[in-house]
């Protein structure tokens, strides 16, 4: 799962950078940042030297995703919106949320800390990529995406607290994350804004 996730995230990030006409170095950086920034942030938060800087295998997978993005962009205009890319992305989201939850529980943080680290590991890469592309991070603006990792992280923490084995908790986290994400994509779920709930007035000026 982690393998699929690294390749898929690097592919999605690199495709965005290609569309913005970044040069090849920029494409590689945005692709690798999408694949690794979440895990690197997790390792920094728990005080480890990041795995991505220690393991050569991880980087090879990220570069494979960047290469795929370059190859596929010649054929498809929006490789990151292809169903295979979307399913791979959901699998990656689940894999990274689970990896984050496992490391967080090992470090001994609070329940909120487990959910926060699982979520940051899962969506941090996409958020950093969007900052590099000078956009507001899409995970804050659109769809049900980060929320799936929040639910997965909460599932992991509940399972561990209930006394299950680590691998059962990991399976629960992955299943909840990938299941809610695929359901959200196929059914077009979205979270409401405060305006939609009547909690705030809509902006009158839409011309900013």
């Amino acid at each position: 799962m982690n393998t699929v996730g690294l390749v898929a995230f690097a592919l999605v990030g690199a495709t965005k950078a290609i569309r913005e006409e970044f040069d090849l170095f920029g494409v590689a950086v945005v692709g690798l940042a999408t694949a690794f920034a979440g895990g690197v942030t997790r390792d920094i938060l728990v005080g480890r030297v990041p795995l991505a800087l220690r393991s050569a295998d991880e980087i090879t997978l990220g570069l494979l995703g960047v290469g795929l993005a370059l190859g596929v962009s010649a054929l498809l205009a929006n490789a990151d919106e292809h169903p295979i890319a979307q399913v791979s992305d959901a699998v990656g989201l689940a894999a990274f949320a689970t990896a984050g939850a496992i490391v967080a529980v090992e470090t001994g943080v609070s329940g909120f800390g487990v959910v926060a680290i699982a979520t940051i590991n899962a969506v941090g890469g996409g958020a950093v990529a969007d900052v590099l592309l000078n956009r507001s991070p899409f995970v804050l603006l659109e769809d049900v995406y980060a929320s799936c990792a929040v639910l997965g992280g909460a599932a992991y923490w509940l399972a561990v607290t209930a006394g299950t084995t680590g691998s059962a908790a990991a399976a629960a986290c992955a299943a909840v994350t990938v299941g809610t994400r695929l359901a959200a994509v196929s059914r077009g779920w979205s979270l409401p804004t405060a305006q939609a709930l009547g909690l705030a007035r809509k902006r009158v000026d839409d011309t900013r």
Copy 2:
């Protein structure tokens, strides 16, 4: 003071995200980032696992601020500009600058390091929130805000160097920060630009 600061910072951040019509998850993330990003950055700089991930109490206060923002936005258009929010924000600025200065002196950094960590702890949350909202950080553009934390951090370091007790130094830091901030708000102080000092030519093209 720390309690007031966490609630006030989360309120201010969440209110900005509501105004930008982020979904509820995004509102919570921007609110919590405003409240905690400064302290998390401080803990990363000195090599600790962030307190916000270890303590459940802190998160509860942050979520309270987010909830307040949602409740108040139904009634007021600009809850973050209400005098109560502004005074609370100044108290939070002072509390966070003091917390940063204390941790910095414990870690044994240089005088500049004490001022830098106090300032980052105080304004880092607002800066991260602005990056998430895809703006230039307001602390770099406007008013006398971060400068108050700089003065407070310097006061702490001077007091400690002069041999006072830690609590006297903390009181000096908090008093200087909150005092200069409230004075700046009520009197409309602002720092000059290089252009205003005649050190650089004004831009001719205002049409960017």
Copy 3:
């Protein structure tokens, strides 16, 4: 070399902030961030308390660069594009790439880790400055800049792996970085985009 680099990077960053009409505090922050964010990120990645917070000398050099930017902006419109600033910037790029590679090898990361930390140390400051100025990081968009640090970091790692002394490896890293950078500036080298290589279609709408 490190001295030249700190002053040059602070000068370049502060000059950009002056042009955007930031106030004096903002100018100092962007200048210091340009000089120190790369090294601070390196120290965070390898788990050290950042050198910039421990050493008073380093900060003095950064503030000197900010002061120079203010002084020179009164005389020159684009101090950061002056040949002396450009050569100093190339020397700084080489000095910071070398410092990063040395720390990375001491920490015992992979070959990719050495290249990544050398590059982050060299270009991280400019990237953070651009995020503060609300731009897409120029190192991702323009010219042959970060690529020189990549080549320098690779040269260091190859030299160390081949069994040379640390100082010979450092000389190789610095020579490769500064040499490729100055050649790129004087000859106007640039990396191709995927579109230029025929790997992706050009955007039809150029009106964004």
